[in-house]
Amino acid sequence: MSRYFTKDHEWVDVTGDVGTVGISDYAQGQLGDVVFVDVPEAGKQLTKGADAAVVESVKAASDVYSPVSGTVTEGNAALADDSSLVNSAPETDGWFFKLTLSDPSELDSLMDEAAYASFVEGL
């Protein structure tokens, strides 16, 4: 499994052609208390860089973009009951959706963990 990050603070774990997407620990820290997450339904076609989900904190709504193109296989139902998983476990149980990648070569333009860490360091 490999993990990639975007400059917009999404992460995607990739195993074969299946990706799991969430937002980074840095992003949840910036958002503060998450009170609602709107995740895409299975079957939805997503395009790299386009709107995929919405995460709402007490103070603001933020768009979450899909790091890669593909077809959604599952939204994280656990977030409907407990959106605070995004704060407590942003890079594990607080994932947003899974998708089947339509073009794995898109991963080449994303950052690995080390590159993302230094990107965040510079913010």
Partner: protein
């Protein structure tokens, strides 16, 4: 991921210059605040997190820095009459140490700001030889100067415009001082009185909307029992060069934690209190804003304030639209700027504040809707980013006020 809306973004409406640091800037940073630009100043938006800070204020005592707000002292001439030309409240009738919420009105009745006006007693920390009212005779003093002087607190984003407007409206014999060397703190919550009375004995005798001069050691303080969270609490004017020491002393009390702007916004929304620049602006009149209580009976009868003809007509016949509270169904907050729509999808109103209410555990909002849809219980629809949400008009405050009125 990108921010779509936040109180930070809204602040950009007002900000053109480099943000300025307030007297407690270093203090906030030392206490772990995340600082953002608001109303032209760098301000703490949160320390531990908005939900935790909100809950702390509702249960204990939250310390807020509101030093960006404008503190004015008006003295001389017939200052009460001068203020009454642009404020629709009974200002002349205020006794020393009594305060009133009022609205600064444009000539057409639109709201230029909302503010608190207090009649100062002769003994107050702002009194100086310069500020002493003309004709003031200490031998005749009965706790109140004959012509009177007033302490007025206005919004930070509007304070310079307010000063210019007031100077234009009041006669030349009224002196207006913008107190730029005074910081302003708010201590809000059910245990605020316990914490503050330990440092400043006597404040417990104040009741809601009264104020007086106090001291912390040799530091003069002007303290009112007021605030904008719906809780009991105080606003404290402190010399800027002493405010860090006083904030240290307050924060050392077990009931007190510093609280950021984020929780201040969610607290005032739950309290049903409008925020200038969002729920109030020059297009809105006091009647549209459902702030009819700010129109004192004597002033309505005299109809002698700016915009009186229009405002009193709206009061009699009903305004076209009115500010209401909304409880939004589901968990997703509806935000400022979202449209209120009718069954055909046409836009008939607009949300002016909206967010998640930590005390209630659900989303709430304020909106302007047509008068026919303003009764509590009315269901309305909100369009936001391609989705339609249902909401119910609800009497405000959303969370009951806990002000300490006369004993």
């Amino acid at each position: 991921m990108s921010d779509q809306s936040s109180i930070i973004d809204h602040a950009d409406d007002y900000v053109a210059l480099e943000p300025q640091a307030l007297p407690l800037d270093a203090w906030h940073r030392a206490h772990g605040a995340r600082m953002v630009e608001f109303a032209g100043y760098l301000m703490p938006i949160q320390y531990d997190g908005i939900m935790a800070e909100h809950a702390w204020t509702r249960e204990s005592a939250g310390l807020f820095d509101v030093s960006h707000m404008g503190q004015l002292v008006l003295t001389g001439g017939d200052v009460a009459a001068a203020l009454e030309t642009v404020l629709p409240g009974d200002i002349a009738g205020l006794a020393a140490g009594k305060m009133r919420y009022s609205l600064l009105l444009a000539e057409d009745g639109g709201i230029l700001d909302d503010l608190m006006a207090t009649r100062l007693p002769a003994e107050n920390p702002f009194a100086s030889e310069d500020a002493e009212p003309a004709g003031y005779d200490p031998l005749r003093a009965t706790g109140e100067a004959p012509t009177g002087s007033f302490y007025v607190v206005v919004n930070g984003a509007t304070k310079y415009d307010d000063v210019a407007y007031l100077l234009d409206q009041v006669s030349d014999d009224v002196t207006l001082n913008l107190l730029e060397d005074q910081a302003l703190l708010a201590l809000q919550g059910p245990k605020a009185v316990d914490a503050l009375a330990r440092l400043v004995p006597g404040v417990e005798a104040l009741t809601f909307m009264t104020a007086g001069a106090f001291a912390w050691g040799s530091v003069p303080l002007w303290i009112s029992r007021s605030g904008y969270t719906g809780e009991d609490g105080f606003e404290i004017s402190v010399p800027a060069d002493q405010v860090a020491a006083f904030a240290d002393a307050l924060a050392a009390e077990p009931e007190v934690k510093p609280i950021g702007l984020g929780a201040r916004d969610s607290l005032r929304l739950e309290a049903g209190l409008p925020l200038y620049g969002h729920d109030l602006d020059p297009e809105i009149t006091p009647v549209m804003a459902d702030l009819g209580f700010a129109l004192s009976k004597r002033r309505r009868e005299a109809a002698d304030f700016a915009g009186a003809t229009r405002i009193l007509s709206e009061r009699e016949h009903g305004p076209a639209s009115k500010r209401v509270g909304l409880i939004v169904e589901g968990r997703q907050p509806a935000r400022e700027g979202a449209d209120v729509i009718d069954q055909s999808g046409a836009v008939i109103g607009r949300l002016t504040s909206g967010g998640f209410a930590p005390t209630l555990g659900k989303p709430i909002a304020m909106a302007y809707v047509p008068l026919a849809l303003s009764a509590p219980g009315t269901r309305i629809e909100i369009a936001q980013r391609g989705k339609v949400h249902t909401a119910t008009v609800t009497a405000m405050p959303f969370v009951p006020h806990r002000y300490v009125r006369s004993k």
